[in-house]
């Protein structure tokens, strides 16, 4: 009769004790398992959702943080809000080199021209229409690209329906090549491959005679664009929930070109405007020129896979020196949009720890009771000269054996329990979430691309091999720990008192 045989005999022959322990572990097992299942279900839902999203991390101004700081600091001027320059961008690129496929940022620019007409969506009333032609020409936004598969394409917000996207060489040389929406092209009878002559006009900023006064034309230059492709904007899931603002309409009116060309256009305008400006403002302008030395935020890092997002953020974050810059990912959005799920998860995490803690307590007390009941038997082992560690090993094996059986039984019921707990918890959550505002920039790839409904549809109770293993590990650790704590009783036993 070695330790194992003794343990087995004790487990199978002292049925009442075994049964009590089994029931306790079964109940605790259900609690622990459903906690684990819910945690894992939320995690795998999140993972599944994020996997389908573009593998992009966006470096942006942390506006919320800036806002917070502004309120704390006496003089907001003292805050050193600076954009990362190209050197720093290089450093960041170096730090995240293993994960980055490419990065893109988009310079902003504009032209005012009479050569192109606005596209007016049919269902929109003209009252809400953009700008009436005031005679100055229409104002068009320009957005630059740094890579051929620029962010808009990468996040599948648009696809090239006609023609092609930029060639790397065109980007490098800052060629005046553009992509525009199909709608805008149609409005202007433009096809991919067409060359468009655009006259950009500069007007005086100050209107001496008030806002009604016609601003004076300063200069006009002609640029020849080649329209290399047309863009078909796709429906983005989750978009319909969020306000269609300016941004949504603006995307149809925007001309997408190379960052290099926008830089060229900017230096042209700088040149023209400088001559027109009074002395003091000219200085300010020169300062502004520095901005050109920094990439326009957001800088979007396109990673190899979306699984790299966390690793990338971890390795790049230490390199970013500006405290007002943040890296934002779709993960953050999930946290926000799927809030009911996320808060359910955190409730469950807490209750999991509480469950484990109280399990250890309850089991310790129960097992201690059992040991006291077995005092005589333990005394006999001691009188026979059995080593205390072997006696402890026996009772640990017993508790562990029954613990694992209880855990296995709970495995079958725990799935149902967790299913109904999920339902219960989600039902009590307030599902009418505040609308998470969609970022105003169409080029922001980290704008949420899913909604709560979609997330909830994806949510299903699931149990992975890893969770089963960790579930068993937790139960095993809990029972072993409880038995070890209560076994301090064995150390204090005096065989003479028991036996003689």
């Amino acid at each position: 009769m070695n330790v194992l045989q003794r343990a087995l005999a004790s487990m199978t022959r002292k049925k009442a004790k075994s049964l009590i322990l089994l029931i306790i572990v079964f109940v605790l097992g259900n609690i622990m398992l459903s906690s684990l299942v819910i945690m894992q279900s939320v995690d795998s839902t999140r993972e599944a959702m994020l996997r389908e999203l573009p593998p992009i991390v966006s470096m942006q101004m942390d506006n919320e943080y800036i806002q917070e700081k502004m309120e704390e600091v006496d003089d907001p001027q003292e805050m050193d809000i600076r954009l990362p320059d190209f050197d720093e961008l290089e450093e960041i690129e170096e730090a995240g080199r293993d994960y980055i496929r490419a990065y893109d940022y988009s310079a902003h620019g504009s032209i005012t021209t009479k050569s192109l007409d606005y596209y007016q969506p049919e269902d929109e009333s003209t009252e809400r229409g953009m700008v009436e032609d005031s005679g100055e020409g229409q104002y068009f936004t320009l957005r630059g690209a740094q890579i051929p598969q620029f962010t808009l394409l990468e996040v599948e917000e648009a696809r090239v329906s006609q023609g092609r996207t930029f060639e790397p060489q065109e980007i490098e040389e800052g060629k005046p090549v553009i992509l525009m929406s199909e709608e805008l092209a149609e409005e202007n009878d433009i096809m991919a491959g067409d060359h468009v002559l655009v006259e950009n006009k500069w007007h005086e900023i100050d209107r001496p005679g008030g806002p009604d006064d016609e601003p004076e034309l300063i200069d006009a230059r002609e640029y020849e664009f080649e329209v290399i492709g047309l863009l078909d904007f796709l429906d983005v899931p989750g978009e319909e929930d969020h306000a269609h603002g300016m941004s949504d309409r603006e995307k149809y009116q925007t001309l997408y070109t190379t960052n290099g060309f926008i830089a060229e256009l900017q230096s042209d305008s700088m040149e023209i405007m400088r001559d027109e400006l009074p002395e003091e403002q000219r200085e300010m302008m020169e300062q502004q020129e520095d901005i050109v030395e920094s990439p326009q935020l957001p800088v979007n890092f396109v990673l190899n896979t979306s699984e790299d997002i966390n690793d990338f953020v971890d390795s790049v974050e230490p390199v970013i020196e500006q405290e007002y810059i943040k890296l934002s990912t779709q993960q953050d959005n999930f946290q926000q949009i799927a809030e009911p799920l996320e808060s359910m998860r955190s409730i469950i995490v807490y209750s999991f720890y509480i469950a484990v803690g109280s399990s250890i307590l309850v089991l310790t007390l129960v097992l201690l009771g059992f040991l006291k009941d077995r005092q005589k038997e333990l005394g006999i082992y001691l009188a026979l000269g059995e080593k205390k560690k072997k006696i402890i090993a026996q009772v640990v094996v017993e508790a562990l054996g029954i613990g694992l059986i209880g855990a296995t039984l709970a495995l079958f019921t725990g799935m149902f329990v967790s299913d109904s707990i999920s339902e219960m918890l989600l039902a009590t959550q307030d599902m009418d979430l505040e609308e998470v505002s969609r970022s105003s920039s169409i080029m922001d790839p980290t704008a949420p691309r899913f909604d709560l409904e979609g997330v909830m549809e994806q949510y299903s109770v699931s149990l992975s091999f890893i969770s089963i293993v960790s579930y068993y590990a937790v139960i095993a650790a809990t029972t072993v720990l409880a038995q070890l704590i209560s076994s301090t009783y064995i150390l204090r036993l005096d065989p003479k008192k028991i036996m003689m």
């Binding site: 009769m1 070695n2 003794r6 005999a9 004790s10 022959r13 002292k14 005589k376 038997e377 005394g379 006999i380 082992y381 001691l382 009188a383 026979l384 000269g385 059995e386 080593k387 065989p495 003479k496 036996m499 003689m500």
Partner: protein, 226 residues
């Protein structure tokens, strides 16, 4: 003189009564040999159980020394004395209730570091059979055996570890007269046929009459009763 199986030198033992040490054993000197059946007599409270618990390493020696085959108790781990040198038989049997008679015997065989035969199960069966417990009873839970049978199981258990010394503290206290006779016969046989050193504490002068050596414990001193 060859080394005695157990040698007790100047053994004293006290129980703390507040600040006062109440001595139960004073400078006890005696020795025990293999092949002999000893009984210890003494009034209730004279310190017989105390003495036996010290021999059986169930309590710590405070003053003096006990030698097991020439080895001082100081050089031995009390646990190893219990599993390798002495086997104890108690008044209330002290068997593990959820095990069968056979299993109780085999537990002791597992614990000891003494050489035990390979086919433990057979040896255990034979041992029990020798003490009047056939297989049918050997395979019973000990709770379903009579008091006398249980005491025989506990003797078999003490013997199964191949120790030289069998210590029994009032082993017949809970059994009837016939059973008492049978058990005494067993002890005699153990000493004489199996050359064990058998030390039995008893109140019964009848048992003492059967013994080779009778010791008397009186006022803390051990004296030989001729």
């Amino acid at each position: 003189m060859a080394t005695a199986t157990i040698n007790v030198n100047n053994l004293s033992h006290y129980y703390q009564d507040g600040d006062y040490r109440r001595y139960v054993l004073r400078q006890v000197n005696c020795s025990f040999e293999k092949g002999r059946f000893y009984t210890i007599l003494g009034q209730s409270g004279s310190g017989k159980t105390t003495f036996m618990s010290l021999l059986g390493a169930m309590d710590t020696v405070q003053e003096g020394e006990i030698q097991y085959q020439g080895y001082s108790h100081k050089s031995l781990d009390p646990n190893s004395i219990r599993r390798n040198y002495t086997g104890m038989v108690f008044q209330n049997y002290n068997l593990i209730t959820y095990l069968t008679a056979l299993e109780n015997v085999m537990v002791a065989m597992e614990v000891t570091e003494n050489r035990v035969p390979e086919d433990r199960q057979n040896v255990a069966y034979n041992l029990l059979d020798y003490f009047g417990l056939p297989r049918s009873k050997a395979n019973r839970l000990v709770t379903r055996l009579s008091g006398g049978e249980q005491q025989r199981v506990s003797i078999a258990r003490a013997l199964a570890t191949n120790v030289d010394v069998i210590l029994a503290d009032e082993p017949t206290g809970n059994v009837d007269a016939d059973t008492e006779d049978e058990i005494v016969e067993i002890f005699k046989a153990l000493a004489h046929e199996h050359s064990k050193c058998v030390i039995v504490v008893t109140h019964s002068s009848e048992i003492a009459r059967e013994a080779d050596v009778v010791l008397k414990l009186y006022k803390g001193s051990m004296t030989l009763d001729e």
